[in-house]
């Protein structure tokens, strides 16, 4: 049996199933008792509102893992991840290493990312995944579809490592077909969302959808794009990228975050190290040109990569 559900429902289903499966799973976050009334109803004190205290929220999450629980911490906007950065990079990701493997930190930190075209402005429109990518010990997931979101979130909750799970706000309106039966999607595996021959496009979240749209249009012009959804940024599925580039000989990365020092750089660097000989064209990165996200929608659009940007850059390299 297959159903169509939206991104938000997918997330809630994943949380519910995992909370039923494992009584150690609980969730804290601002206003979550109000946002998830059904979960609150069913799990009562395992769904807990918090005050505006992002730093302690993640610190409390880490502490709870040390005493046998498996917290999900909801951070309303990823603009607030810098507030809990210390607990993510200095604490959560190091627990396993500190203890020499004897103790782990099974925590999921969820946060919303991305610009929406609704004037959310400089802070809450960010895609700040790059701030935490150079932090081995963390896993970082960024799903693109409700199906992936459900399967990946279930894996994240079961994972014994701290996982940051980034949900693009514009995806809330997306739907996908989801099986009735339980399923999980392993972390660390990229997904080829479209098979192609001429160029490899690596993207995630909202940019994955723009890339697919670009690929559709380019197809009509005779350009065949392979579109890879990384899904997990850390640890990275190098193989899928390298295999694809060996086939297409061309690589484009697409990201909503600023170009310099973003995730696309790592993809380019991996290929420049491990598949250099296969490259027939410069590796191009479609990205925010290096600005905050202005509040005025007209200006916001000017700094978020568009389908046209992806098409233009693709044509430059094929």
């Amino acid at each position: 049996m297959v159903r169509k559900i939206g991104f938000r429902s997918a997330i809630i289903e994943a949380i519910r199933e995992e909370m039923l499966r494992d009584t150690r799973v609980f969730m804290i976050g601002e206003d979550i008792e109000y946002f998830y009334p059904a979960l609150k109803e069913d799990f009562s004190e395992r769904i807990l509102n918090t005050p505006i205290s992002e730093s302690a929220m993640v610190g409390v999450g880490v502490g709870a893992t040390l005493n046998g629980m498996r917290p999900i911490v909801e951070i309303m906007f990823s603009s607030l991840l810098p507030l809990c950065m210390d607990h993510l990079v200095n604490s959560a990701r190091m627990i396993c290493y500190q203890y020499g493997g004897e103790v782990t930190c099974p925590m999921v930190v969820r946060a919303s990312i991305g610009a929406t075209g609704r004037g959310l402005g400089l802070h809450h429109s960010q895609s700040p995944e790059s701030f935490i990518l150079n932090a081995p010990g963390l896993k970082i997931v960024m799903p693109s579809t409700p199906y992936d979101a459900k399967g990946l979130l279930k894996s994240a909750i079961r994972d014994n490592n701290p996982v940051v799970f980034l949900e693009h706000k514009l995806l809330r309106e997306k739907e996908s077909s989801i099986p009735e039966e339980e399923f999980i999607i392993p972390l660390g595996k990229a997904d080829v969302k479209r098979v192609g021959e001429d160029v490899t496009i690596v993207a995630m979240a909202q940019m994955l959808h723009k890339s697919l749209e670009a690929a559709n249009k380019l197809h009509k012009e005779g350009i065949s794009c392979e579109v890879i959804d990384l899904r997990t940024l850390l640890p990275l599925d190098e193989n899928t990228i390298i295999e694809s580039v060996k086939k297409t000989s061309r690589l484009i990365t697409v990201q909503e975050s600023p170009k310099a020092y973003g995730f696309g750089a790592e993809i380019a660097a991996i290929v420049a190290e491990k598949a250099l000989g296969y490259l027939d064209a410069p590796v191009m990165r479609v990205a925010n040109p290096g600005t905050p996200i202005p509040c005025t929608v007209l200006l916001e659009q000017a700094v978020i990569p568009s389908v046209e940007d992806i098409i233009r850059v693709t044509k430059e390299v094929v």
Binding site: F35, P51, G121, P289, G290, C295, L299
Partner: protein, 324 residues
């Protein structure tokens, strides 16, 4: 220090500023469904007296850091409503194009510090502005506004402690509207009065227990005098209530109509109560209220026209001013 009675003229002006703020906020709520506003409306309806009462009578060189619910502060500082509306419409503002949302817009010419969308963080910035005032040897005072929710952030703690040890000229004003988004204050802290936290830093804490602009104005003025005299910071908690939905989004409303009515009655009506008082004292007539309302209505219409007609920025603006 001698307590001064507030002049009738000042009371009337505060009344007008509150009313202008209220009507402005109502107008933005009315315009919101058009989809043309490029901002979320964190209106201060029911809380106008705090920012207006606090900012009224500041010196021009003083600085303020508004909370997200700080429209009254902008208006009391003299920012033209057409400027505010133009920013809400996403329009170019003179020669500069601030890329910030109107609810934490910085306006140097009005002594308004730029904020962020990060609740609580601006408390540290306001404290830094006060440190600069002290180091520069000015007589500036900084008013810092924030919500009850913000007072649970670490920056509140670190900043008030710093202001206390450095004896900074800053007045912290907590607009305790008993709510942060959908979360009631009874869920977010176990303490009765946020002002009690002042004791943890060795600074005075003051509670204003009603929606009373005269009480706010007086308490803030006392604290401003203290600050200017080098006696350091004060924490003033104004008990109030959010009358409207959060961020203009009805889906974020968790409170019942009855609750809101209960709190209105309990804490009082900032504008209506002052109006009654002024009429009782014979300072204000029904006729004059109508005239003020009419003028505001007219100015608001003009401001909407101005905002609509103002030019959009050129797209290249988006790429400018990342670096100085």
């Amino acid at each position: 220090m001698v307590k001064m009675e507030i002049d009738n003229q000042d009371l009337l002006e505060m009344f007008r500023l509150m009313l202008l703020t209220r009507r402005f906020e109502e107008k933005t709520q009315e315009l919101l469904p058009s989809g043309k506003l490029q901002d979320f409306c964190h209106t201060c309806i029911g809380q106008e007296h705090i920012t207006v009462g606090a900012c009224y009578n500041l010196k021009e060189t003083d600085l303020i850091m508004p909370s997200l619910r700080g429209r009254g502060a902008y208006i009391a500082r003299g920012v033209p409503i057409k400027t505010l509306l133009a920013v809400m419409y996403g329009k170019q503002l003179g020669s500069t194009m601030p890329k910030e949302s109107v609810h934490h817009l910085g306006l140097p010419e009005y002594g308004i510090l730029v904020g962020t969308g990060i609740i609580g963080s601006d408390i540290a910035k306001a404290t830094g502005a006060a440190l600069a005032a002290k180091l520069r040897g000015t007589t500036q005072v900084v008013l810092d506004f924030f919500g009850d929710g913000a007072s649970n952030r670490g920056d509140f703690h670190e900043s008030l402690n710093l202001a206390a040890i450095w004896n900074l000229p800053v007045v912290y004003i907590c607009e305790n509207n008993h709510t942060a988004m959908s979360t009631s204050i009874t869920e977010s802290t176990a303490v009765e009065d946020i002002a009690d936290r002042a004791g943890g830093y060795g600074i005075p804490g003051v509670v204003i227990s009603r929606n009373d602009i005269i009480a706010v104005h007086t308490a803030v003025q006392d604290a401003v005098y203290r600050a200017r005299d080098g006696e350091g910071p004060t924490l003033i908690e104004c008990k109030t209530y959010r009358w409207s939905v959060h961020a203009g989004l009805p889906s974020l409303e968790s409170r019942s109509k009855e609750d809101i009515e209960f709190w209105k009655r309990k804490l009082g009506y900032p504008i209506m109560d002052l109006k009654k008082e002024l009429m009782m004292r014979g300072i204000l007539t029904k006729q004059e209220v109508s005239e003020i309302e009419a003028k505001i209505r007219h100015d608001l219409e003009e401001a909407v026209e101005f905002a609509k007609k103002s030019p959009f920025p050129v797209v290249e603006e988006a790429l400018k001013h990342v670096y100085a």
